[in-house]
C-alpha cells in the first residue's frame, strides 16, 4: 500500500529520481577526487575545505563562481539546443573563441559611443561571430552532408590556431611582451555588480539567454518544429515542418549562444584575448548539458556545479597544492556516472509505469 503511494509520488516527480542520481554522481566524483588527493599525500578533508571556501565561502569566491557560470551557461545552452534537434555541435570551444574575437574587434573600435551602445554592440558582434562559425559546419552538413561532429571539432582546432596567429601578429598589444590583445577600454566593459568581488553584469544576460531559449523552445511554433525534427524527423516532415529551415536556425542559434559566452567572458572578465582564453569553456558546456538532461532547471544547476568545480579546484591548488587538472578528472567521472545513471533512471521509470515492484 505504502509502496504504491511512493510509486505514484515518484511518477509525478520523476525529477527526484534524476536529481538523486545526479547527487550520487557528484558524490562519486568527490570520492574519486578525495582518494586521488590522499594518494598524493594531501589531506583530502583540508583540500575540500579549501574547495568549498574558495567557491562559496566568501564574497570574492562567490563572485568568481558566478563569473564562470556566465560563459558556461551560454556554452551549455548552445550545445543543448542543437543536440535537441539532432545536430551534434561539438564546436562550442571554437564558437566561443569566434565570439570573443568579434567582440574584441568591435570593442576596440567603439570610440566615443554611448555606454549602452558601447557595451551592446560588441556583445552583438560576439553573437554574430559564434553564429558565423557554426554556420560553416552547418553549411557543410546541409550542402555536403558532412558529419558535423567531426567538422565542428576540426573547426575548434583551426579557431585556436587562428587566435594564436592573431594575438601574436595583427592584434598583438605593442606595449606588452605577452602575446595578447590590447585590453578593451573601460566604457565597453560590463559593469561590476558587487563590492568586494569581480561579479559582472554578464550574469543577467546569460540568465536572459536561458529564459529566451526556454521560451523559444517551449512556447513558440518554431521551437516546436525544432523539437519535433529532433525527436522524430519523419513525423516532422509529415506534419509539414520545413526541416531545413528549422535546422539552419538551430545551428545559427547554437553558435550564437557560444559566441555570446565568449563576448561576455571578454567584456566582463578577462578584457583581453590570448591563447588559452577559453580554457575549455566550450567543452564544459557539453558536460553540463548532459548532466542537466537538457532541461532549463537541470542546466542551471549543473552550470552552477561546473562553475563551482572550476573555482574550487583553483582554490585547492592555491591552498594545498592539488594540481588543477583534477578539475577534468572530477568532470569526467561526473559525466560518465550521469550517463550510466540514465540507464538506471530509465529502468526505475519503466518499473513505476508498469506498476511492478522495482
Amino acid at each position: 500500500m505504502h509502496n504504491q503511494k511512493l510509486k505514484a509520488f515518484l511518477r509525478k516527480r520523476s525529477f527526484l529520481i534524476t536529481g538523486g542520481m545526479a547527487l550520487i554522481a557528484i558524490l562519486l566524483a568527490m570520492l574519486v577526487g578525495g582518494v586521488l588527493i590522499m594518494l598524493i599525500g594531501i589531506d583530502p578533508i583540508l583540500a575540500y575545505r579549501y574547495f568549498f571556501y574558495g567557491a562559496f565561502g566568501n564574497i570574492y569566491g562567490f563572485g568568481e563562481t558566478i563569473n564562470k557560470f556566465t560563459p558556461l551557461l551560454c556554452c551549455a545552452l548552445g550545445f543543448s539546443i542543437a543536440q535537441k534537434s539532432g545536430f551534434f555541435n561539438l564546436g562550442g570551444e571554437g564558437q566561443f573563441y569566434a565570439g570573443a574575437l568579434c567582440a574584441a574587434l568591435a570593442a576596440a573600435n567603439m570610440g566615443s559611443a554611448s555606454p549602452i551602445v558601447g557595451i551592446a554592440l560588441p556583445v552583438l558582434a560576439g553573437i554574430v561571430g559564434g553564429a558565423v562559425l557554426s554556420s560553416i559546419a552547418g553549411a557543410l552538413k546541409i550542402l555536403f552532408n558532412a558529419n558535423e561532429l567531426l567538422s565542428t571539432m576540426m573547426l575548434n582546432y583551426i579557431m585556436q590556431y587562428l587566435i594564436a596567429l592573431l594575438v601574436s601578429g595583427a592584434l598583438k598589444n605593442p606595449n606588452s611582451s605577452m602575446e595578447q590583445t590590447v585590453p578593451i577600454p573601460d566604457p565597453v566593459r560590463l559593469p561590476a555588480l558587487m563590492e568586494g568581488s569581480r561579479l559582472h553584469a554578464g550574469f543577467f544576460i546569460a540568465l536572459a539567454a536561458l529564459l529566451l531559449v526556454w521560451f523559444l523552445h517551449q512556447r513558440t511554433v518554431l521551437g516546436f518544429e525544432m523539437r519535433l525534427s529532433g525527436m522524430n524527423p519523419k513525423s516532422a516532415r509529415y506534419a509539414g515542418v520545413n526541416e531545413r529551415r528549422s535546422l539552419i536556425i538551430v545551428i545559427l542559434v547554437s553558435g550564437a549562444l557560444a559566441g555570446l559566452g565568449g563576448a561576455l567572458e571578454l567584456q566582463g572578465n578577462q578584457y583581453k584575448l590570448m591563447s588559452g582564453f577559453s580554457n575549455n569553456f566550450g567543452f564544459d558546456g557539453i558536460g553540463i548539458a548532459v548532466m542537466g538532461q537538457y532541461t532549463p532547471a537541470g542546466i542551471f544547476l549543473s552550470t552552477l556545479l561546473f562553475a563551482a568545480l572550476r573555482v574550487g579546484t583553483g582554490s585547492m591548488q592555491r591552498g594545498v597544492g592539488v594540481p588543477t587538472p583534477i578539475l577534468y578528472i572530477l568532470q569526467g567521472v561526473i559525466i560518465i556516472s550521469v550517463i550510466v545513471s540514465n540507464y538506471f533512471v530509465r529502468r526505475i521509470k519503466d518499473s513505476l509505469v508498469e506498476g511492478r515492484d522495482a
Binding site: L140, F283, P323, Y328, I339, V340
Partner: protein, 311 residues
C-alpha cells in the same frame, strides 16, 4: 622540389602517419563491431603519458610500451562496459572519457614535473630505426621504407592482418555481421557481446599504442594535451577511407603527409606563419568530410546503435 626535401618530407609523412594509423585501426575495429569509439583522443593521450611514464620509471622501452597497452586495454574495457552493457549514448561516453583522461594525464604529469627537475624528465633512449646501412641511403625508398622504427612496421602488418581477418576468416565475417545486424547474428549463434567487447578493448590498446609512439619515438617527453586532435583526425580518416582497411590506411598516410607538410612549412620558414601551417591537417579533415558526400558506403548498418539482449 629538390630530392632531399622530398626525401625528408615523405619519410616524415610516414612517421607522422603512424599514430593516425594505430588510432584509426582501433577506431575501425570498434566501428566494425557496431560501437563508436569517440574516446580515441583520450586513449591516445593516456597511451602517450603511461608509455612515457613507465619507460621513465623502469628505463626499459618494452615495459613502457607494455604500460601503454595495459592502460589501453583497461580504458577500452571501460568504454566497452559502459556503451555495451548500458546501451547509453556512445558519443557522450567517449567525450566523458576524453575529459577524464585529459585530466588524469595532466594531473599526473604535473605531479611528475613537481617531483623532478626538468632535465630528469627526458627519456634517454627512444625506439630507434632498425634498418641502417646502404638500404637507408637510397633516395625516397630509403627514407620512406627504411628510416622507420619497429612500431611503423608493426602497424602496417596489423593493417594487412586486419584486412585478411575481416575478409577471409569465419571470425572476421562474424565480426562484420555483428556490426551490420546484431539481432540476426545473435540468432545465428554469434555471441554479439563477446565480439563487441573484444573489439572495443583491442581498440583501446591500439589507440594507446598510437599515443605511445608520440612520446617513445618522437619527442622523448610528455606535454599536456599533446595529441592535439589526432584521435579525431583518425575518425575522419576512417570516414574518408569508407571503413575499408586499405582506404583507411591511405587516408592516414594522407593526413601524415599533411602533418609533415605542416612541419616543413614551419621549419623552412617560407613566410607563412606557423599557426597557419598547424591548421593544415584539420582543414584537410574538413575537406575529406566534404569529399565523401553522397557516396554509398556509410559504415556498418548498426554502427552507434546499442544492442540490448533481453535479459
Amino acid at each position: 622540389m629538390p630530392v632531399s626535401l622530398l626525401d625528408t618530407t615523405l619519410g616524415m609523412a610516414v612517421r607522422m602517419s603512424t599514430p593516425y594509423l594505430f588510432a584509426a585501426l582501433g577506431g575501425l575495429l570498434a566501428q566494425r563491431s557496431g560501437v563508436y569509439n569517440f574516446a580515441l583522443e583520450g586513449m591516445m593521450l593516456g597511451g602517450a603519458y603511461f608509455g612515457y611514464f613507465f619507460t621513465l620509471l623502469t628505463g626499459n622501452l618494452l615495459l613502457g610500451i607494455l604500460g601503454a597497452v595495459i592502460f589501453g586495454l583497461l580504458s577500452g574495457w571501460l568504454l566497452a562496459f559502459i556503451s555495451i552493457r548500458f546501451g547509453v549514448s556512445q558519443m557522450v561516453v567517449g567525450l566523458g572519457m576524453n575529459t577524464l583522461f585529459m585530466g588524469l594525464t595532466s594531473f599526473c604529469s604535473r605531479l611528475l614535473s613537481n617531483s623532478r627537475d626538468g632535465s630528469a624528465l627526458n627519456l634517454d633512449r627512444l625506439i630507434g630505426n632498425i634498418i641502417s646501412g646502404p638500404a637507408a641511403e637510397i633516395p625516397v625508398i630509403g627514407s620512406v621504407l627504411c628510416s622507420q622504427n619497429l612500431m611503423t612496421y608493426l602497424i602496417i602488418a596489423l593493417f594487412v592482418f586486419y584486412a585478411w581477418f575481416t575478409r577471409r576468416t569465419e571470425y572476421g565475417l562474424a565480426l562484420r555481421a555483428v556490426g551490420e545486424n546484431p539481432a540476426a547474428s545473435q540468432t545465428a549463434g554469434i555471441n554479439v557481446f563477446r565480439y563487441r567487447y573484444l573489439s572495443v578493448i583491442i581498440s583501446g590498446a591500439l589507440a594507446a599504442l598510437g599515443g605511445a609512439y608520440l612520446t617513445l619515438t618522437q619527442v622523448s617527453r610528455f606535454s599536456e594535451n599533446m595529441t592535439n586532435g589526432r584521435g579525431w583526425i583518425a575518425i575522419a580518416a576512417i570516414c574518408l577511407g569508407r571503413w575499408s582497411p586499405a582506404g583507411t590506411f591511405f587516408s592516414c598516410l594522407l593526413f601524415g603527409l599533411a602533418s609533415a607538410a605542416s612541419n616543413q612549412i614551419q621549419v623552412l620558414n617560407i613566410g607563412i606563419p606557423y599557426q597557419f601551417a598547424l591548421m593544415v591537417p584539420y582543414i584537410l579533415a574538413i575537406l575529406a568530410l566534404v569529399s565523401i558526400q553522397g557516396k554509398s558506403s556509410h559504415g556498418p548498418a548498426a554502427l552507434g546503435k546499442p544492442y540490448m539482449k533481453n535479459r
